[in-house]
């Protein structure tokens, strides 16, 4: 009886630790791009999707809100590897879809014609123009 209880407790502990470690590993995986494949990776390889990403960038606020050349502006230049709110694909997706509170960056989640797919195309376009060696 006592042995059975001890075995049960050990099982519970193992499950608990497994869940916690999985959570930790999942959280940590967001820090290194490439561990989890990004939907933008696919669009990076497709000319039509990259073009659509560029036209979305052009048509929303790229160039006016986000300059296409490094300059003396009050808005972030998105191609210089300097990120205030995270530069992973996941971070960019969050910034574009939910906006950035306390800034002029609005929410575009659900507002682009092809929804999330268009956000990933935007990210792919930004990646394609990046001046970074590695994002």
């Amino acid at each position: 009886m006592h042995r059975a209880n001890a075995a049960a407790r050990l099982f519970v502990r193992t499950v608990l630790l497994t869940v916690l470690l999985t959570t930790v590993m999942t959280a940590c995986s967001g820090l290194s791009d490439g561990v989890q494949p990004s939907p933008a990776d696919v669009f990076l390889e497709r000319a039509d999707d990259l073009k659509r990403g560029r036209l979305l960038f052009t048509g929303t606020c790229g160039g006016y809100c986000h300059p296409t050349n490094a300059g003396n502006r009050d808005s972030p230049y998105l191609f210089d590897c300097q990120w205030k709110n995270g530069g992973s694909d996941g971070d960019l997706f969050a910034s574009i879809s939910a906006g950035i509170p306390g800034s002029r960056m609005p929410q575009y989640g659900g507002k682009l014609p092809e929804r999330d797919q268009d956000i990933w195309r935007l990210i792919a376009y930004i990646r394609s123009k990046s001046e970074c060696q590695s994002p």
């Binding site: 052009t58 606020c61 790229g62 006016y64 296409t68 050349n69 306390g102």
Partner: protein, 598 residues
């Protein structure tokens, strides 16, 4: 036995807690967090809020009575006043002072200077009455200053709302004055009236909900009992309008929408329901014709700016000159400068109410150097077209036909991958953010210009309320290549021919003031005040103030001494956009120059 069981349980609990803690510590390192939640600052580092409003305990000024309608109609009967953004209702910005001449203007000296404590473009046209200068800065600080000494008499720092939908910087261009009130519009779309003698708020009216994409940057205009103010938002897909408010109470008297609603005349010039987000803002100050009791207002670009595919048609009443009944806001007629604009060529640059002869016949006209690079004359009695002449050295987006309608160069149309260098840039040859002036004696229209071209790119249009609604972007080909430059120009009012140009190495984006004595004042993005001889364009005086000049200079005389006032301070983002200098600090200083005391 029982004790042993408890011990094992305790050890197990401790071990489990330890392991969980290790996991949580690891997670804390791995999961990105912010130092503080948005808007939360720990109590130990919170500071007491700074004061934002300093009223005067005693009435300021020299005891003059209220500003009357007669004064507003004849503002220069007394040269110790400057009562209107445009100098007078006709918009001449022509000081009757004969004391400022080509011979003595170089003797101007700094009498005093004043820092606003703000950055961003300082676009003010000061108002002067009863020895008090009323100055607004970027971000809506309002100062009442002793005009002779610069002493602060009262001050109000407006606390604008958060996340302002600014397309182009935190500008304000000044106040209007009437009775014993001074009126300022704010970036978060309020119109506020202050008691001019104390600075106390008399009323505060909300024009509209700024979070939808609206701002207000212009100086109001007062005619009789009403104050007029328009809004900006052409880059946000708003439905443009301008309003009339009762000066005494702040109650709105009427609203004139610049885009028709369903069933209204002009709605047929918008495809489908594109009129619902048609822009056409009214972000500059209008003019008033005393003789015919007509209010004139002008409008900006249709939305979205650079992709007109979903708004096929002329898009009335964007980029238009509107004539209205000042009491009711009812439109009498309109003239549209740039139908179906896809370049951001706002039609709301400075207008003048001029009387001159055309082909030997006296005509009542409106003159306007338009943002699209052409100088226009329009008959102000009926809105008919008289002439259009290019005033820029580079205009290639269109020619103008005999009816005043542009014949568009197809290469200038925005495209997916533009290669055409189209002139002027989206900032225009002149821009509504700075004034022109008119010398009625020499019959010259005098203003600063931007000589720059761009390639206009068209993208996928996306509307999201409160977010920019642009549809494309201007590629800054000249600005990046260092090819942008500026001219100060003099245009003959009746012919539209350029009399002279004075070239500057960078685009000019400063206002204009001219004097009866024959001097015209403006400024440079390099931070210099400049004066030219009105007749010839000969440079007479140049003074480095520091910040780029985006203000509207004024002149006055107090106790026999002649003064000229400039704001010095630009907006680096816009300077960069225009191809201006990169290394000039933004500034935020007022300079008051004076001729030597007699």
């Amino acid at each position: 036995m029982i004790r042993g069981l408890v011990d094992r349980r305790e050890r197990l609990l401790v071990r489990t807690l330890f392991e969980v803690s290790v996991c949580m510590v690891l997670a804390a390192f791995c999961i990105p967090t912010t130092a503080f939640a948005q808007g939360e600052i720990p109590a130990e580092i919170q500071l007491a809020p700074l004061p934002t409003h300093w009223t005067a305990k005693e009435p300021v000024g020299a005891g003059a009575g209220p500003v009357t309608r007669t004064m507003l109609e004849n503002p220069f009967a007394d040269t110790s006043r400057w009562l209107h953004y445009g100098g007078d209702y006709r918009g001449f910005r022509h000081s009757p002072l004969e004391t400022l001449t080509p011979e003595n203007v170089s003797k101007l000296q700094v009498a005093w200077a004043f820092g606003t404590g703000t950055t961003g473009q300082f676009e003010v046209s000061p108002v002067l009455y009863d020895g008090v200068l009323f100055i607004t800065s970027s971000y809506n600080r309002l100062f009442a200053l002793d005009a002779k000494t610069g002493t602060v008499l009262w001050r109000y720092d407006h606390q604008n709302g958060v996340n302002l939908p600014l397309c182009c910087g935190p500008a304000n261009r000044g106040v209007a004055i009437s009775g014993d009130l001074v009126l300022m519009a704010t970036l978060d779309a309020h119109l506020i009236a202050f008691e001019r003698k104390t600075g106390k708020i008399a009323w505060d009216s909300v024009i509209t909900d700024y979070t939808k994409g609206f701002t207000a940057t212009s100086a109001p205009l007062v005619v009789g009992d009403l104050a007029y103010i328009g809004i900006a938002g052409g880059e946000y897909g708003v439905r443009g309008f301008f309003d009339a408010y009762e000066v005494a109470t702040g109650k709105r008297a009427w609203r004139h929408f610049t885009v028709p609603a369903a069933g209204e005349p002009g709605v047929e010039t918008w495809a489908d329901k594109s009129y619902e987000r048609g822009g056409s803002p009214a972000w500059t100050t209008g003019s008033y014709d005393v003789e015919t009791n007509t209010l004139f207002w002008t409008t900006g670009n249709p939305s979205p700016d650079w992709n007109g595919d979903n708004r096929a048609g002329d898009n009335l009443y964007s980029n238009s000159l509107l004539a209205l009944d000042p009491k009711t806001g009812e439109r009498k007629w309109h003239f549209q400068f740039t139908p179906h604009d896809v370049w951001d060529y706002d039609g709301n640059t400075h207008i003048f109410l001029v009387d001159t002869e055309i082909d030997g016949k006296p005509r009542k006209l409106i003159a306007q150097p338009n943002r699209n690079g052409f100088y226009y004359l329009i008959d102000r009695t009926d809105g008919s077209f008289v002439l259009a002449e290019p005033y820029l050295e580079q205009v290639n987006w269109a020619t103008i036909d005999a009816n005043g309608r542009p014949v568009v160069n197809p290469d200038a149309m925005p495209s997916d991958e533009p290669t055409h260098r189209t002139c002027p840039s989206n900032l225009g040859g002149i821009n509504g953010a700075f004034t022109a002036s008119f010398d009625p004696d020499r019959e010259l229209v005098l203003f600063a210009t931007i000589e720059a071209c761009q390639s206009y790119a068209k993208g996928i249009t996306v509307f999201a309320e409160g977010a920019p609604y642009l549809g494309g972007l201007p590629e800054l080909v000249d600005a990046i290549a260092g090819k942008s430059y500026g001219n100060f120009v003099a245009v003959e009012v009746a012919t539209g021919k350029v009399r002279w140009r004075a070239r500057e190495p960078h685009p000019m984006m400063a206002g204009s003031l001219n004097t009866k004595g024959g001097v015209v004042f403006s400024g440079t993005l390099d931070g210099e005040a400049v004066a030219y001889e009105t007749e010839t364009g000969k440079e007479l005086w140049r003074f480095r103030m520091g910040g780029g000049v985006r203000s509207q200079p004024i002149a006055y005389e107090l106790d026999g001494r002649t003064y000229v006032v400039y704001g010095s301070g630009s907006f680096a983002t816009m300077d960069d956009f225009a191809g201006g200098p990169q290394k000039i600090p933004e500034g935020g200083h007022l300079f008051v120059f004076a001729l030597p005391e007699k």
